[in-house]
């Protein structure tokens, strides 16, 4: 760890220390005193010590120990031990979440050790579902809670990255790109319109973005999946909802926690490529096969092919990759008081996350500060949470991973003499032709940074008129200020590139989101009937403002000048633009939960949403859901029959929710005001006209989901199992099919409610927990299947997409649509015998060694009409398996995660495996030769050959066919963590003020099993319809970190 401790940290420690109430510190300073106080009859305070254990006799850390009726409290250490100063005649209250509180009178005892028992009722965790909370036992919806304690072991910036493999129904793809949020979908792709991300609700605030949320602050994370749990979110519920609550202070002695880790990162893998002489050897065959030589274009053979020894031997991957690093420092102070009149809580948490990317030039830094606090007095309760985040990202430029495999090894990284316009970098030349860009130079000549400040906060105030009736106001605010800068210095970094001036583009903006929810809540138990009904009204407003300016030609226009630019220093032409986007939503909602004897469960919800995004005629939409549940295990006959089954519940839910996630103002045709033309020389005349087609008449799309679920608990819930099967149908799906270009539309394809989409899947989660003596362990596994189909588009044959993938009826969204590759012709005879039914030779130009494709439509030629649908990027199954164990002070956990049944189109391999144009080759590239009669890889053949047949064959061999579609299944050892907690006695003998100390090492992405030939089968492609196309994406990182966790 060479970096100095970040500034925030330096300020934070003294600041936090100042806040410490002195009394507990003093107490800690004088304790422990094992001697009993002999001053008889004294009502003076005495020091009480002891150990709190669970029902198994294991020490319970974190148990609150409070002197009843005071704010004097402490918590047990990692071994369950505590020490507190209490009045001789006082009473100690021991409380712990999930356990029954216990009160013991001090009565002069200096040692009070006891065990507390789990509260079987409270053990049922409380789950936030919509605007109510429910006991998990009584839940009738498909809801997954993620073990955030385990998830937070991953050394990553965002919690989404860490929950991969830890829950069902959620597919997450990560990348190694610093600052890039992972892609996440819940229960398949619910929409075709690209807005398939879930809604996040953080302490009541609705948001699309939790990249900047500090994972350390998260207390719980719940994934709502079925309509019953999400329809209350109306128009935002269709793609699932992730509910996050952040930590709050607990009454008692203030606690300081410090956690820091640091480590190194490298990409999980890279290509193994040919060196200069190996590359040239294949190229020479490619030229020779194409007829180049003494009689045909000898001058067009690249010189470095003939004499590679006269040229450099560059390893471009070495040039762009480095060992990156990650560091995280987190410190928090929390506490609170509980009194007769007031109860308060507070938490202050600061964090610095610093990442130096494994690709040169990239990095990510994020600083967060959180303040959560609350007050309860009488019938009034208020809680607030707010986080300030500052993030600074330096992005990758161009396509470095693609260029690194495309650029020839005979091109130097640096070459000051390449051209008068060069900035000192090497690029192609007629001796070593390339169409690529020097990726080292593009990281250095261009600097793209993103800087943002984000506030996410909410206030939740509640007033109880009666015990059973309360009013709640929930206010949320998200505010984002950002500055994106893109500075391109002068200098040429690719062959024959134009001489563009240096430029700086600045894009500044602010996004504001406001949320207000008014909720009236009725909650009463009447005999065996539990009734909870709420009514609500809410408004939401969003406003995004941005302005963009570009200035060109900076004074230091000299090649390679590295100075930072500012807009006013540009002397060339400038451009300016700016936009405002406003959005609003009005909602009425109601939710009802009913149970009879906690045994028969019924819920219903309804929401009416109006959205400014739709045509005025279609603004309002109605959404609702209902669910029923039966806790069979609560029936007496069942309890008697199968006593070892501690919980059995059957659930069913059905409902509908919507989606309006497609941007503003789309229903109106607008006039483009910058359609200009310079009629006379340099004078620019302003022109205006409609250039894009609008999404006329669009309305809500609706997703209907049916869910069947079963929850099972065995042996007092030591084994739990939860299974769900769902079918969801999206109707009136907002779809933007590819329009005929002859309509002249110059914008994105407009939307219409013309699609239908079906997702179905099975989800299974099982876990087992066991403690025996000093050894505790648990295992947990989960499995999710997804089956996605487009069932309707507007007209026969209508599709979306035109590249390697196509979205069409009867196929999954973004299915691969490719010409089927059918091996390699071994002889000319085979070519001549390869005919269609009419006897037409299908590939007459081909020779031995050329690619054979399937003439799907039998027309005697190979063209786009022969494309076939292949499977999709959507894995048929995603799964995770985790285990954790602890023995004495040691703890060990691991997570294996993977996906199966998905395909990946490998663009890097398609680039390298073609021999008609310049690129490097993979080291194991073994094309067809008479001596090596390959059936998978055609012969090397340059373009522009001596005959028309050779030219056609070269182009045919280079087609992007099914040849480059690969199995994307993988299994990955995602996380391994080994920790050691210094035993409390050992610790307290040496450093008095530290209550617990744990050191740990973590490995992330340690090993991967896959058949995929590229560096990483898990990647993020931002194009919604081409999610399975690996365009040389940034591979994930293998990270090894060491860390320390201290409690004061």
């Amino acid at each position: 760890m060479k970096k100095p401790v970040p500034k925030l940290h330096q300020v934070a420690i003294p600041a936090l220390l100042c806040c410490l109430p002195l009394q507990p510190l003093m107490a800690a300073g004088t304790a422990p005193t094992a001697k009993p106080m002999h001053t008889a009859l004294s009502l003076a305070d005495i020091t009480v010590t002891g150990r709190i254990t669970d029902e198994q006799g294991q020490g319970l850390p974190g148990v609150n120990v409070v002197v009843k009726g005071t704010s004097n409290g402490t918590q047990t250490d990692v071994d369950g031990r505590y020490s507190i100063t209490a009045p001789d005649n006082g009473t100690l209250v021991f409380s712990y979440v999930g356990y029954l509180a216990k009160e013991i009178a001090v009565a002069g005892q200096s040692t009070i050790s006891t065990s507390i028992a789990p509260d079987t009722k409270a053990l049922a965790e409380v789950v936030v579902v919509g605007y109510t909370t429910q006991d998990r036992q009584n839940l009738t919806s498909a809801v997954s809670s993620v073990d955030v304690l385990q998830a937070k072991k991953a050394p990553v910036a965002t919690i989404t990255e860490a929950i991969q493999g830890r829950t069902t129904g959620v597919q997450i793809n990560n990348s190694g790109n610093p600052g890039q949020a992972p892609s996440i979908t819940i229960r398949g792709l619910g929409s075709i319109n690209g807005g398939s991300s879930p809604l996040y609700v953080v302490d009541g605030l609705w948001t699309d973005n939790i990249r900047d949320l500090n994972p350390a602050d998260i207390a719980s994370l719940t994934v709502l999946k079925d309509a019953s749990s999400t329809s209350i979110y109306g128009s935002r519920g269709a793609n699932g909802v992730i509910i996050i609550t952040t930590k709050r202070g607990k009454p008692g002695k203030p606690v300081i926690g410090f956690n820091a880790y640091a480590g190194a990162q490298r990409t999980v893998d890279r290509w193994d490529l040919t060196n200069a002489s190996e590359w040239a050897a294949i190229e020479r065959i490619a030229y020779a096969n194409a007829g180049y030589g003494p009689n045909y274009h000898p001058e067009q053979i690249q010189a470095s092919v003939l004499n590679p020894e006269n040229y450099p031997d560059t390893n471009w991957q070495d040039a762009i990759l480095r060992t990156g690093s990650v560091q995280d420092y987190n410190m928090n102070l929390s506490g609170g008081s509980s009194g007769e009149k007031y109860t308060t809580n507070f938490l202050i948490s600061g964090d610095a996350f610093l990442q130096k990317g494994a690709l040169i030039g990239t990095d990510f830094k994020r600083y967060t500060l959180r303040l959560n606090s609350g007050l309860t007095t009488g019938r009034f309760k208020i809680n607030e949470s707010v986080q300030l985040a500052h993030a600074n990202t330096t992005l990758a430029n161009g396509q470095p991973f693609q260029d690194a495999v495309r650029l020839l090894p005979t091109i130097p990284v640096y070459n000051p003499n390449e051209s008068p316009y060069t900035a000192g970098y090497g690029y192609g030349s007629p001796a070593a032709n390339t169409f690529g860009t020097n990726p080292v130079a593009s990281q250095k000549i261009e600097t793209r940074t993103q800087y943002n400040n984000r506030i996410q906060g909410s206030v939740n105030a509640e007033y109880a008129f009666f015990d059973f009736l309360s009013y709640r106001l929930n206010l949320g605010l998200e505010s984002l200020d950002y500055v994106d800068q893109d500075a391109r210095r002068f200098g040429r970094i690719s062959q024959n590139a134009p001489t563009d001036p240096s430029f700086l583009t600045e894009n500044r903006g602010d996004n504001t989101f406001l949320l207000a929810e008014n909720i009236l809540n009725f909650n009463k138990r009447i005999a065996d009937n539990g009734i909870n009904v709420l009514l609500g009204y809410s408004e939401q407003r969003g406003k995004n403002t941005n302005s963009q300016a570009t200035a060109r030609s900076f004074a230091n226009n000299a090649p390679g000048a590295q100075d930072g630019y500012v807009l006013s220093a540009g002397s060339g032409t400038t451009s300016v633009s700016g936009n405002i986007f406003e959005y609003s939503k009005r909602s009425f909602f109601t939710q009802a939960v009913y149970d009879y004897k906690n045994r028969y469960l019924l819920t219903g919800s309804f929401r009416r949403d109006g959205s400014s995004r739709f045509d005025p005629q279609n603004r309002y939409g109605n959404f609702g859901a209902g669910s029923v549940g039966w806790r069979i295990s609560e029936e007496n006959f069942f309890k008697e029959a199968v006593p070892y089954v501690s919980n059995l519940k059957a659930r069913f839910s059905y409902g509908v929710n919507g989606n309006d996630n497609l941007g503003e103002y789309r229903y109106q045709a607008v006039v483009n005001q910058n359609v200009n033309y310079p009629f006379n020389g340099q004078v620019v005349n302003n022109g205006q006209i409609q250039t894009a087609l609008p999404s006329t008449g669009i309305k809500w799309e609706s997703r209907y989901t049916t869910n069947y679920g079963l929850d099972l608990g065995l042996l007092e819930d030591r084994i739990t199992l939860s299974a769900d099967y769902y079918v969801s149908t999206t109707k009136d799906a907002l779809v933007n099919p590819t329009l005929a270009a002859y309509l002249g539309n110059a914008g994105g394809n407009p939307y219409a409610n013309i699609g239908s989409l079906r997702n179905k899947g099975f989800e299974l989660q099982a876990s087992y927990q066991k403690s025996s003596g000093a050894f505790t362990y648990g295992v947990s596994g989960n499995l999710t299947t997804v089956n996605n189909r487009v069932t309707k588009l507007a007209q026969e044959g209508q599709v979306i997409g035109s590249g390697a993938t196509q979205t069409a009826v009867g196929h999954p969204v973004g299915a691969f649509f490719l010409i089927p590759f059918d091996g390699v012709f071994q002889t000319k005879e085979e070519v001549l015998n390869y005919k269609n039914a009419d006897g037409k030779v299908i590939e007459p130009f081909a020779s031995a060694g050329d690619a054979r494709y399937v003439d799907t439509n039998g027309d005697g030629q190979i063209n786009d009409d022969d494309r076939q649908y292949y499977d999709t990027d959507i894995p048929k199954i995603v799964y995770g398996f985790s285990a954790n164990g602890a023995y004495k002070g040691f703890d060990l956990s691991f997570l294996i995660q993977g996906s199966g049944g998905n395909q990946v189109f490998n663009v890097a391999r398609a680039t390298m495996d073609r021999t008609d144009d310049p690129s490097n080759f993979r080291a194991d590239f073994s094309p067809w030769t008479p001596e090596n009669p390959s059936t998978t890889t055609p012969r090397p053949l340059q373009s522009g050959g001596a005959t028309g047949d050779l030219q056609a064959a070269a182009a045919s061999n280079a087609r992007g066919s099914s040849r480059f579609l690969e199995n994307g299944s993988y299994a990955r050892l995602k996380n391994v963590t080994l920790g050691y907690t210094i035993p409390a006695p050992l610790l307290s003998n040496r450093v008095k003020f530290i209550s617990n100390l744990r050191i740990y090492v973590t490995g992330q992405n340690l090993a991967t099993v896959t058949k995929y030939s590229g560096p990483d089968p898990e990647f993020v492609n931002g194009n919604f319809f081409e999610r399975g196309v690996d365009y040389s994406a940034f591979p994930n990182l293998r990270t090894v970190t060491g860390g320390i966790q201290v409690g004061f």
Partner: protein, 496 residues
Amino acid sequence: MKLHTLTTAALLGTMLLTTGCEKDLLDKQNPNQPTVENFWQTQTDAQAGVTAAYSALQFTGVYARWIHFANDIRSDEGYSLSPWTDLANFTRFVQFDYNLEPTRVIWEDHYRGVFRCNQIIANVPAIQMDDAMKKTLLAEAHFLRAVFYSNLVTQFGNVPLILEPSTISSTAQQATVEQGWTQVITDLQAAITDLPVSNDVGHATKGSAQGLLGRVYMQQHMWQEASTLFSQIISSGKYALVANYLDNFTVANENNSESLFEVQFSSALQGGGQDVSGASEGFERPQFFGPPGIGWTDGRARAWLLDEISEKTTTGEVDPRRDITVLHYPMIVYGDTYENRKIPLTDTFWHKYQDDRTQNFENYFSGINFRVIRYADILLMQAEALNELGKTADAVPLINQVRARVQLAPLANNFSQGQLRTQLMHERICELAGEGTRWSDLKRWGLLSTPASVSMLAASNHDPDFINFVIGKSEYLPIPRTDLTADQNLKQNPGY
């Protein structure tokens, strides 16, 4: 005061504030762009609309870039050795991907232009404005639509004709080549009727429309109709050859007396994107045709042009048009020698329309206007029309006007009709090489229709790329895959 009362009051107050029940909460007006509903109201709107239609001429698929690959590089005058082999193959008549960028973008961008013209033709008639201005603007829209459709018919043959402003649900009938030309003729006739003889700089004039219509008639061998139009242009006295041949290809003397219609380009803006503030309005061809170290060199000039344009002038010099047209050894390449630039000495590049006369680099922002039709072409086309009509003797003086400008001796007036045909082929190459006329010339002369003529073109010292030319297929580009998929009624061109 009790805390309860306070908090209750505060809560109720906040509730009212936060949920003010604004009636128009959901009415969000787009502040960024006016809606179409409020457009097409005034003369200013009509003029802005027409400017926008002209702006479509600058699209990469129209005159900024790709059309020059389709016309000049695919013809025998040019070729490509691009490391983007799909592009090189496109110019070699080897194309497997029907959505390949040049093909797709030419199609797409021309129809974007058509969409704009259709809006003007549908909306301007209802606007209350100056009548003369209204007529002119509508005529300009008809002219521009004809420009777009005539390029589409030339490149793609059987194209859908869409003549009304499109909506998301519009469809169009696929027309035959003949129907396509008929539409172009109809639009041009409307344009000729209402276009003024002189118009503001850069706008279409009566002469522009007459010239284009004459060219369309020529392609269909309607010699008499063509000749009549050319006579009108010549006798209008508005046009004359400029003294200096080079003035047709540089920024120095744009919109000159020889120019019937040219696309206006400007280097003033260097921004990216299309139809956004600050977007470039530059000519991109010079960057794509620039020699190595200067431009992408994706399009090159065939060396046979050097021999073709080699007649000696009356003063014993080589025809000056040779070096203006083709950059070749030992000419100076953008301020430096072939040797210093390490360019193989046998390499030949396009020099016409390149910027080396004013700077030693290229980029995407050249300000040189592209001359769509110029008077020299009118003279040569009139000569050809007259020759085809049997008036060979009347044709020769027109050719001599063009020759005289570059100090070539006049041709003797003793040609047979057949001899003059051959002579005109030579004259057109010398005068017009690299100006986008060759592809249509080859078609008109039938040189793309017989195996003998195609194999002549494919000679190894001429344009061996023609070895891949398939008669009945390669005359047209494939219709892009996106449109065939989106509109199942469209038929692909033969052979694809």
